[in-house]
């Protein structure tokens, strides 16, 4: 899985639309499964599945009618019931689309993207509007697809989603890729953080930022040794570091730092 992340208006959806073959690239070239997705749409489309950020279905069709319509347009669809079961919508098959919740509509959209047994799957914010349980289920489904060998291009606002699922990712800002690599490659460029609340009036052995609440944050590229030094110092001086929290940089921090740098 490749995840495309970015600030709002960075151009993620436009980029994905070019890759999906919805629009022609202004310059350069795009290849999906070895073909030009715009000019050779007929060759590429039967092998890919797309879940748009905003896709729609006629509100007066039922879930199974909408899925059957979609299946009818495909070269080699999987059974409609199977696709609906994959996204936990089988029990809603007879319900009109307009009566579905936002999260259920997202899952219907995902079911349609999976109907054609795609080799390449485009997911544009697939879990937006899903409750935490459905999101976990969707993640499990995506993991299962990845194990089957499906290639996934994901765009998402949820950084933990990219962190949990993606093999590689890129961060976009104002139409340009500003960072890319595996999750750890992107994250490792950013310092880890140690934060705690020290007793008042004590001089710390490390450089730290102090918040108004009294909590201090230490940034370090060597989490283990810095933390060790701090703990030894605290032990030695009998200092209590309350609310101690030490963590490696997360994708979220990397992302925020990149957005800030670039701004």
């Amino acid at each position: 899985m490749f995840a495309l992340l970015g600030t709002n208006g960075a151009g993620k959806t436009s980029t994905v639309e070019v890759v999906e073959g919805l629009s022609r690239p202004a310059e350069g070239s795009v290849r999906v499964l070895g073909h030009d997705p715009f000019a050779e749409r007929k060759l590429v489309r039967p092998r890919m599945g797309v879940m748009l950020q905003e896709g729609g279905f006629p509100p007066d069709l039922t879930v199974s009618e909408a899925a059957r319509m979609w299946a009818g347009t495909l070269t080699s669809p999987r059974p409609v019931d199977e696709a609906l079961s994959l996204v936990d919508l089988a029990h809603r098959a007879a319900v009109r689309v307009k009566q579905l919740s936002g999260g259920e509509r997202r899952r219907l959209d995902l079911a349609l993207a999976l109907l054609g047994k795609p080799e390449v799957l485009f997911l544009d914010e697939p879990t937006t509007g899903l409750d935490p349980e459905s999101r976990r289920n969707t993640w499990e489904l995506i993991r299962a697809l990845l194990r089957e060998g499906v290639t996934v291009l994901l765009t998402t606002h949820y950084l933990e989603e990219a962190q949990a699922l993606a093999d590689r990712l890129a961060i976009m800002h104002r139409g340009r890729i500003v960072a890319q690599g595996t999750v750890s490659e992107v994250v490792d460029a950013y310092p880890s953080r140690i934060s705690f609340v020290p007793p008042e009036g004590i001089a710390l052995p490390v450089v730290a930022e102090v918040e108004s609440s009294g909590r201090v944050t230490v940034r370090t590229n060597e989490l283990q040794s810095t933390l060790h030094g701090l703990l030894v110092w605290a032990q030695h001086n009998n200092v209590e570091l309350s609310g101690l929290d030490a963590r490696s940089a997360s994708l979220e921090e990397a992302f925020l730092a990149i957005a800030e740098e670039a701004a």
Binding site: E20, L22, F57, P58, E65, M69, A71, G72, T73, G116
Partner: protein, 235 residues
């Protein structure tokens, strides 16, 4: 044809849409007396009813259908599937066209039997008129939908074509009552050549000019759709 799957879904939606049912199925029946008062003779009545079916069941219905599917993001969704653009439009248009064709056959047979219309002597012109008319009004509907923001607005944006065709193509009153200059201009409206071809199925009349005018409208309509049709809602 994969587009048929879209057509089947559209047909279901058509039966669930009361406005569309009324416009397509009942309105022409209400208009029959009006047409009858214009010309009680059998052939003009048949031609007039076919003209109305083209305007209401094909054109007006499809303007609203295209706008509704665009605003519901259905067209956008279909566009990332396997269907080509013309297949999507054809699929969406299919039920309206089928319903319109069914009506035309029904009216022709019923009116024909009641008023004793003879079988068309040149049925191929009739067929050309119907097929050409369907093509033109499907294309015009797609083009009009591009200038229509909401389904409600379709009542307004479809008026120019509807009014021009109803008043200017001899449906409500015969063109012969108009000054000759005006009448000759109105020959270039999209519905006029269709009606002339339909008439030519029974009675001798000009066919070459209507065929050319109709062909030009089909070309213009195709160009307009390629140029302006919107697959996404306006932002």
């Amino acid at each position: 044809m994969k587009a048929v799957a879209v057509g089947q879904a559209e047909l279901k939606l058509f039966w669930r849409n009361r406005t569309a049912l009324f416009n397509s199925l009942l309105l022409p029946l209400l208009l029959a007396p009006v047409l009858y008062s214009v010309d009680a003779d059998g052939v003009p009545l048949v031609v007039g009813l076919i003209g109305f079916a083209l305007l209401m069941a094909v054109y007006y219905n499809l303007v609203t259908t295209f706008v509704a599917r665009r605003e519901e993001l259905v067209l956008k969704r279909l566009r990332v599937g396997e269907l080509t653009d013309p297949e999507i439009l054809a699929g969406a248009a299919l039920p309206s066209v089928v319903v319109a064709l069914g009506q035309m056959v029904l009216y022709t047979v019923v009116v024909g039997v009641i008023t004793g219309v003879a079988l068309p002597t040149r049925p191929w012109f009739l067929l050309l008129g119907v097929l050409g008319g369907v093509a033109v009004f499907v294309l015009l509907a797609a083009a009009s939908s591009a200038f229509t923001r909401t389904v409600e607005m379709a009542q307004v944006t479809s008026l120019p074509v509807l009014m021009a065709c109803m008043l200017g193509s001899g449906l409500i009153f015969p063109l012969s009552v108009l000054p000759e200059v005006l009448a000759s201009v109105l020959e270039y409206l999209p519905l006029t050549p269709v009606l002339e071809l339909l008439r030519a199925g029974w009675v001798d009349g000009p066919v070459l000019k209507p065929l050319i005018v109709l062909a030009v409208w089909i070309v213009l309509g195709t160009y307009a759709v390629q140029r302006w049709f919107r697959w996404d809602p306006r932002r």
